[in-house]
């Protein structure tokens, strides 16, 4: 048995797995073509959104069914705020658009955090629908057809161009960098006093209040941070596709993100990333005509059944399988990496 440490450190296997994953992602473009790069860029963006939801669901216990709203609104903001003919600078576009995501999360949180349990889930879903209808129906959004980002933003300092995001590789590495930064930020956040407070709220909110924590501001802050991170994903997505439409805010996407974190394993940051990749793989699998032929059109059937099966049979997700295999007993407070 290892002697107790002064503080929780993620175990060596965990750090190793994260490092290996990062390395694999960094080397991926070297072994694959444009389809592969495009697919993994998209999946890494999903992973960022999944991480944002993990902060709410896994860490704090707030089951939000409205993540698509923060993602989509930020995407729309990025397109709307970009000047017509010139490339915007990502250095200001990114934080501002993330701010839009955070702002809506603040609004949603302020009104829904007074509710609990299933009602909370319902309220978040409803507020996400509200955002959907705003971009779908009102002139702000541009209607069902969506809007185009004609000139993609660039990462530049002054007149020195650092990254031309019109090309797939720079974008890929930017997204990878953002994923890495998000992961590290959340890992630090969750082991900080703020993160421990969220964990306490998750396990026993009553006790937290009795001890002297005003839990509402903490939850609202978690919401806002989550909205900002989901917004980060949204901006990157808008840059990648050059196009946004209302379906980015559909509750189907909110549901998909929830499934990603359950599939990967709640309570672990790695789980969110693993779940995003697993979900993307499942989607590609069921959509594949090579395997399913004519049924590939009805890939949602397979996906629906896979969702039911995975929630029923793998309540602790894919990471749960890993834990089962290594059969470790936790004794120190877990850093959920």
């Amino acid at each position: 048995m290892t002697p107790p440490r002064s503080g929780p450190r993620p175990s060596t296997p965990k750090i190793a797995s994260v490092a290996i994953g990062a390395l694999a992602l960094a080397l991926w473009p070297l072994v694959t073509g444009s389809f592969g790069v495009d697919l993994v860029t998209k999946t890494m963006i999903y992973a960022i959104v999944a991480l944002s939801l993990e902060l709410l669901v896994g860490a704090t216990g707030l089951v939000c069914f409205g993540q698509a709203a923060f993602f989509g609104l930020a995407a729309y903001a990025a397109v709307r705020l970009s000047p017509e003919g010139a490339a915007a600078s990502l250095l200001w576009l990114l934080p501002v658009a993330m701010g839009v995501g955070a702002g809506y999360a603040l609004f949603m949180g302020a009104l829904s955090l007074r509710t609990k349990g299933v009602y909370f889930i319902m309220v978040t879903l409803a507020f996400a629908q509200m955002a959907y209808y705003v971009v779908h129906d009102t002139p702000l959004g541009g209607g069902t057809d969506g809007i185009y980002l004609y000139v993609k933003p660039v990462v530049a300092i002054g007149s020195m161009l650092l990254l031309d995001l019109d090309k797939p590789l720079p974008l890929y590495y930017l997204v990878l960098g953002c994923l890495g930064a998000t992961f590290i930020f959340l890992a630090l956040l969750l082991r900080s006093r703020f993160g421990r407070a969220l964990a306490g709220i998750h396990v026993n909110e009553q006790r937290m209040r009795a001890t002297g924590f005003s839990t509402y501001p903490y939850k609202l802050a978690a919401f806002t941070i989550s909205g900002a991170i989901a917004g980060l994903g949204g901006v990157l997505f808008a840059v990648k596709d050059g196009f946004v439409n209302p379906e980015l805010l559909s509750w189907h996407f909110s549901g998909a993100v929830l499934i990603m974190i359950i599939l990967g394993g709640l309570g672990h940051l790695r789980g969110a990333v693993i779940g995003a990749f697993a979900f993307a793989l499942l989607q590609e699998l069921f959509k594949s005509e090579a395997i399913f032929g004519a049924f590939a059109k009805h890939w949602l059937l397979g996906l629906g059944m896979a969702i039911i099966a995975s929630v029923a049979l793998l309540p602790r997700g894919l990471i749960g399988i890993g834990e089962l295999l290594t059969h470790r007993l936790r004794r120190t407070p877990r850093v959920p990496v």
Binding site: P4, S6, G7, P8, F185, L188, L189, R191, S192, R193, F194, G195, R196, A197, A199, G200, V203, N204, Q206, R207, M208, R209, A210, T211, G212, F213, S214, T215, Y218, A221, R330, R331, T332, P333
Partner: protein, 249 residues
Amino acid sequence: MNEVLLRATDVTRRFGGLVAVDSVSLELQRGAVHAVIGTNGAGKSTLINILSGELAASGGRVELRGTDITGWPQARRARAGVGRSYQRTTIYPTFTVLENCRLAAQARHQRPWAWWADATACTVSVPAARDAAARAGLAQALDQSAGTLSHGQRRQLEIAMCLATAPEVLLLDEPLAGMGAEETERMLALLAELKAGHAIALVEHDMDAVFRIADRITVMVNGAVLASDTPEAVRRNPAVQAAYLGGHE
């Protein structure tokens, strides 16, 4: 020595037509243990909930060191020095004993904006937690997961978490519940030790323990105060004997 830390004046709580707490007044003085006894349903726990802020009073006033805190939410009262332990253990079962106490201690030193700083390296909450755990007798179990503790140890942890918040007023709801003789002795010794710096309200059913440790006893029946006096006076009070102490010595 006789500084009144917490004062409740005519506190009432109604649930629809039911009056759970009926115009109860009591004082908690520093250096004294004030026991609140009564049969089940007498309103003792409801009273504690009102004092701690979990439940709003329907009427009456609660003052902390002279300040009116009647409208204050629970978290604010806790930060001001009103600590409580629960009748049904409310710990964080998935955390270690140390982390349970540390998180409680963190309430006094929250620093939520320092997102980069490792909480378990906090120079304020960690020592406070170790200290509180040691006082409650859990120094040997710091790294144990709280979910694996025995019942008696959990009650100790309840107290430790209460102590970790550095309260001035301690509201203890049946801390001796389910404890064996040895554990009870240990808890009573701890309470005697804590008496000096704090004002303690103690809801208890264990009459022997109550009469040993209490400086003042309030007897509640049907939400109202039947008697509030020194232990000896309460013991001799015929109304109390009739209503409550009946078969007890």
